[in-house]
């Protein structure tokens, strides 16, 4: 197992290196835009652009530029300076990360509870009215886009524009450390909106898994032992049915930690998603590259954690 983890960590490094190379090539080397001109802003004259080009080292050969970027990244954890904010990208990311983590983790807890709960009930009451209703709603939840649900939620429940003002609306985010109550109030709607489609997907997935598992021979064995039906379902059935969900969950969470762009934009939450959205609209190359690297890091690490978790969940899986 240790051997396996060592090998996988090696891969994490290799993959991140490849992602950095790729993003560098896409944003700096392809003739999409001139970074120096972007940095110079609107009122630029050719002289200024040339000076910026020299300052940023953009006149050096590409390979050397990449080398300097990586050197700064590895030795000083320096991701460069944002054109837009004129601040270190590292600082921007660290400032925005708490909001994204709050949003992603809170929504994840919500969708796990809802998805798993509904999935189990629907599976056990298969073909009942309850099953058909929840699965129908789930199909709707999967199909409805986040920005649509987000706007509907705001119009219905936001405390500024909502028909029934209940929770904090757009632009109400407060950090947890400043005011926990305001933090909670501001995130309830985004959590629900973000969780709906995931919960819908997870409930359908779990329902399918559990229906299949309940037909397994070992469930028959558990019943033949004289266990209570509750124990048969929860200890023997759900334990097996939920394992594949863990894989999906790890990856989903990893992706969201890299920024929930749509949700953060609709609710105007100052997180990584919002940061990357702004960076893209303003062609803020160092920030784009920083957030892409961060996203890649979360996804790769989530992948690794999922695989390790799997070995603990399913004893048959043994990594060499």
């Amino acid at each position: 197992m240790a051997r396996y983890i060592a090998r996988r960590l090696l891969w994490v490094v290799v993959l991140l290196f490849l992602v950095s190379l790729l993003t560098f090539l896409i944003f700096y080397a392809l003739p999409s835009a001139d970074p120096a001109a972007l940095r110079a802003g609107r009122s630029a004259n050719p002289k200024l652009i040339e000076r910026i080009r020299t300052d940023l080292g953009l006149d050096k050969p590409l390979l050397e530029q990449y080398w300097l970027y990586m050197k700064a990244l590895i030795t000083k954890f320096d991701l460069g300076t944002s054109y837009q904010y004129n601040a270190p990208v590292r600082q921007l990311i660290f400032d925005r990360l708490p909001a994204t983590i709050s949003l992603a983790v809170g929504a994840a807890i919500l969708w796990l509870v809802m998805g798993v709960g509904v999935g189990i009930i629907a599976a056990l009451r298969r073909r009942s009215v309850l099953d058909r209703t929840t699965m129908g709603l789930a199909l709707f939840g999967i199909s409805a886009p986040v920005y649509f649900l987000g706007l509907v939620a705001l119009y219905l429940f936001a405390d500024d524009i909502g028909v029934i003002p209940l929770f904090g609306g757009s632009n109400s985010y407060k950090p947890l450390t400043d005011d926990p109550a305001a933090w909670l109030n501001s995130l309830i709607l985004p959590w629900i909106v973000l969780a709906v489609s995931f919960a819908a997907f997870y409930s359908r997935l779990l329902r399918g898994n559990l229906i299949e598992v309940m037909g397994e021979d070992y469930i028959r064995t558990a019943r033949a032992k004289g266990l209570s039906e509750r124990r048969v379902v929860f200890r023997h059935g759900v334990r097996s049915a939920i394992t594949p969900i863990v894989t999906v969950f790890g990856l989903d969470l990893g992706i969201l930690l890299g920024g929930a762009i749509l949700t953060e934009t609709v609710f105007n939450i100052p997180g990584i998603g919002r940061l990357s959205y702004d960076a893209i609209t303003r062609s803020d190359l160092p920030t784009i590259q920083g957030t892409v690297l961060l996203g890649a890091f979360f996804i790769i690490v989530a992948n690794l954690l999922v695989d390790i978790a799997y070995a603990f969940l399913d004893p048959r899986v043994r990594y060499e």
């Binding site: 051997r3 060592a6 090998r7 090696l10 060499e320």
Partner: protein, 374 residues
């Protein structure tokens, strides 16, 4: 029945080895061991005979079959088919071999494409090898094949799900026969079928062999089925052949203690019921990744001596006949009679097809009261 000695070898297998490597390592994967699925087997398949490969799970019988058809590439050793070495030739040069060797599989459900009609399935080999391109001709040939294996030719346009398990296995047989192969490899062809259906397929294979002069390699775990079907039988244990003999000889006088134990373990439907004494092999089959030294059976053999763990017994004639045994201390006739009394009873029994020879009831209950020598 074709006398085994009269046939010339169609297939000659020599020192055939198939190891599946076990790899480990952080960056570079080093080979740290191997599962020795087939570990040096030699045998001939004679023209027109049925050779049985029998043994328990993991003995290497199915791997051997896959090597014979080159579905797997051997690690080392040679396979000569009709005088030509096919163990090492490239896949492209295998073309003719693919026509002359056909397989029948265990599971008649999963080996037929559910979206194709029976006619199309049986005609597949013609399509692959671009034969009988004339549609009418091809159809006639397929229907002839269907008739041959006991299917109604009018069912040409039906789909596999419309057929029962036994009928599907007949379809598999018809497809295997389409190109008039010289060698058929049947891998557990009846073990997925209902008891009352097995006999239909076994009889079909026996008739086909007799009528068409087919050479068959018949792989099974069921010793009674192999006995019924095969002219000669090779018994495998942990990647090695431990005994290779004519069917008559093997079932009358098994020489290897493993063969003896296998035969003694077969439950026989007989009036004496539970009175029969059983010879039990202790423990489980060792791992093929780390087989015991010298004779692989010595860890479970009741006759094992120190020599058995030091010197590997060669597969050779022990009694001076054609019966080959890889054992330093083969079973004596008395030991066989004591352990597998019904074999002697079967030889002495009267008319063929007798449903329950009552004559050997006493013989068996008598032996059950004799002291066990284990």
């Amino acid at each position: 029945m074709t006398p085994a000695a009269a046939g010339e070898p169609l297939v000659e297998v020599r020192d055939l080895v198939k190891h599946f490597p076990i790899r480990r390592g952080v960056v570079l994967q080093r080979q740290v061991g191997a599962v020795r699925a087939v570990d040096g087997v030699s045998f001939d398949v004679l023209r027109g005979e049925t050779l049985g490969l029998v043994g328990e799970t993991g003995c290497g019988k199915s791997t051997t079959a896959r090597l014979l058809t080159r579905l797997l590439d051997p690690t080392s050793g040679s396979i000569r088919f009709d005088g030509r070495d096919i163990a090492t030739v490239g896949r492209r040069e295998l073309g003719p071999l693919r026509r002359e060797v056909q397989m029948i599989f265990q599971d008649p459900y999963s080996s037929l494409n559910p979206r194709k009609t029976i006619g199309a399935i049986i005609a597949e080999p013609f399509a692959i090898h671009k034969l009988l391109t004339d549609g009418e001709e091809r159809r006639a040939r397929v229907q002839e094949l269907m008739e041959r294996v006991g299917l109604n030719p009018e069912h040409y346009n039906r789909f596999p799900h419309e057929f029962s398990g036994g009928q599907r296995q007949r379809i598999g047989v018809a497809r295997a026969l389409a190109l008039e192969p010289r060698l058929i490899i049947a891998d557990e062809p009846v073990s997925a079928l209902d008891v009352s259906i097995q006999a239909q397929i076994l009889n079909l294979l026996r008739d086909l062999q007799r009528d068409l002069g087919l050479t068959i390699v018949f792989i099974a775990h069921d010793l009674s089925v192999v006995r019924h079907m095969c002219d000669r039988v090779a018994v495998m244990y942990l990647g090695k052949i431990v005994e290779l003999a004519s069917g008559d000889e093997l079932y009358r006088a098994p020489r290897h203690p493993y063969t003896g134990a296998l035969l003694a373990a077969v439950p026989v439907p007989r009036p004496t019921g539970r009175a029969r004494r059983r010879e039990l092999l202790p423990g489980d089959v060792p791992s093929p990744a780390d087989p015991p030294a010298a004779c692989r059976f010595h860890t479970r053999c009741w006759k094992a001596q120190p020599r058995c763990s030091e010197e590997e017994p060669l597969l050779e004639s022990r009694a001076g006949g054609a019966d080959l045994t890889a054992c330093h201390f083969p079973l004596s006739a008395e030991e066989v009679a004591e352990r597998v009394p019904e074999l002697a009873g079967a030889q002495a029994a009267g008319a063929p097809g007798e449903a329950g020879p009552s004559g050997d009831a006493e013989a068996s209950s008598g032996s059950s009261s004799s002291p066990s020598s284990t």
